[in-house]
Symmetry: C2
């Protein structure tokens, strides 16, 4: 089969790889209908993070059709259209049962397997995959694919930030995750949603997903603007979807005492000063999103056409043009690129 591998920063190729097979009786194999390039895939592409192995199979977001299942798989069957998370999880351990499947004691990072490919082996299929109510119409595929990571991650950030009725929610970061954090906050009933963005196209998407206000200022100027909009107090809920020192400081400082920061941007060289965090009085929660917790509900919302998270895909390319997909995202010509089989 054909699959994407990264040889070195900037060097992404599509080449022939071994067809995946059932290794463990809890595995499934899927024919990948669509996958995509994640902001975190750009970290090794830009050389800011080392490659796990060399060459590294790429990709951890996926939807597809089950082609084979192991002897112990019982909740999905051959032919099912499925969505899975970027962490494979058993969904039965003590950690999974509290909703933290991304920290499952048996978790497997799908990025080590690579779903930017024609086929993929999915470990712990029963705990990882969720079948859609039937075969989806073609226009639903991007939305279902978004649920696999960016929507699930934005949703977790909004839940961690305790977005809800009566709340003012600030979203730091206008990438796909931040934009879908806006969608999530809106669905969760937030009263006011302030998107921090200085790009016209993303501001338009932010408003499409439910943002009521846009703040273009960044850093402490951005914080001052948020304070100005919230009677000097700061927001109740802040979603952090970047992962830099500046964005974390901005998120914490824009939150009122007793408020909640949900941080899902993968941290790079971030250090939080204890004294400032202590005096801030905020709640801080985040990390790799337990997307599996939210998948059944998110799939239903998409199936019922109540949300359209796939709108974040502004470029679709065939798998064989993965190198161009990475370039387009790296050069910010695209927010999020879908790869089709």
């Amino acid at each position: 089969m054909r699959g994407v591998v990264m040889y070195a920063p900037g060097d992404v190729r599509v080449e022939e790889r071994t067809d995946p097979t059932i290794v463990e009786p809890t595995d499934a194999v899927i024919r990948v209908t669509a996958s995509c390039v994640c902001g975190s895939d750009l970290h090794p592409y830009r050389g800011v993070e080392p490659l796990g192995e060399h060459p590294q199979p790429m990709g951890h977001e996926y939807v597809g059709v089950v082609t084979e299942i192991g002897d112990q798989v019982s909740t999905v069957k051959v032919g099912d259209f499925v969505v899975g998370s970027f962490w494979a999880s058993d969904n039965t351990c003590d950690i999974c049962r509290t909703g933290y499947q991304s920290h499952c004691v048996h978790r497997v990072l799908m990025g080590t397997i690579g779903t930017q490919a024609e086929y993929a082996r999915i470990p712990l299929a029963d705990g990882t995959l969720v079948a859609t109510p039937g075969q989806p119409e073609a226009d639903l595929v991007p939305h279902l694919l978004a649920a696999s990571d960016v929507l699930g991650t934005g949703w977790f950030a909004a839940v961690a930030a305790e977005a809800g009725p009566g709340k003012t929610v600030v979203v730091v970061g206008d990438g796909a995750v931040g934009l879908l954090g806006i969608l999530a906050a809106k669905q969760l009933g937030a009263e006011r949603i302030i998107a921090m963005s200085r790009h016209a196209d993303r501001q338009a998407l932010a408003r499409h997903f439910g943002a009521t206000d846009i703040v273009e200022e960044r850093g402490n100027d951005g914080v001052a603007k948020i304070k100005e909009l919230t009677d000097g107090l700061g927001a109740h809920s802040v979603i952090e979807a970047v992962g830099t020192q500046e964005s974390m400081n901005q998120a914490i400082r824009a939150t009122r005492p007793g408020g909640h920061v949900g941080f899902v941007g993968v941290s790079h060289d971030v250090s939080l000063e204890g004294g400032e965090l202590f005096m801030s009085g905020v709640h801080l929660h985040g990390g790799p999103a337990p997307v599996r917790q939210f998948l059944p509900d998110l799939i239903q919302l998409i199936w019922d056409r109540k949300i359209d998270p796939g709108t974040v895909f502004d470029l679709t390319l065939p798998l064989d043009q993965a190198d161009e997909a990475y370039r387009a995202m790296d050069e910010r010509r695209a927010t999020k690129v879908m790869l089709t089989a």
Copy 2:
């Protein structure tokens, strides 16, 4: 009147100071029945924190009898026995109304006024002071005094750590706040309470307040021991009551993914690595405790003799011997010293 002032690290004196009077119509003046020395008072005493002014009036914990009230004070009257928090708060602003009185938009730090004295001015008396149901019997005074800070702070830590039924709670720090965090976790219904302590006398107090297990190891050895006691997962709830880099790391690492860290040790030179916090999946919340939120309930529990937090006072001295009180705590001859008028 007589009051405690600090001239320099190690130099605490009791001297004649101006009698406090009503300055704002929302003030009250109290005759201090008892005050005490806080772990945080030792920071300037040891020179690890600069003095606010020079000489600095000391003390922020207090119980006493109202001797005078301003024109706008309506919830306490002359003669009432009152307990107040170490932050004066209006208890009406948007932040107070969510239970974060320690971040009140009009807050005043009592430590800048100094309650280790015969009398003290209490700003925002209506929002700060809570009257007891009547004049307390003498043996209740230490317990009521504890509510002013160490009990309220330990209680907040337990609430922030979401201690409750079915939970395993770890307490990092065996000072007065940590010990009363144990009492709080017990009252909140925690199933198992693991105290981290290597001092026999404090271990005994920890068990008295409700600890079910003692762990003597510290740092990563301590974390390994907690993992061993919790099926390799870590605790649901961890109270951090020290404020050092080691104690914060220990607290975060001893918590399971999705669990809660309540941190109330005043941070000194603490820096949290973003990547580790991200991957930990814990909830982090803490800071200066909104004691005022809990005071009515804590006073009632004490009045009904259901809790005995004043047991943490292992030395009582008259105000005039404040220098010896500081020395005894600094040299760890006492856990917590009460000063009486």
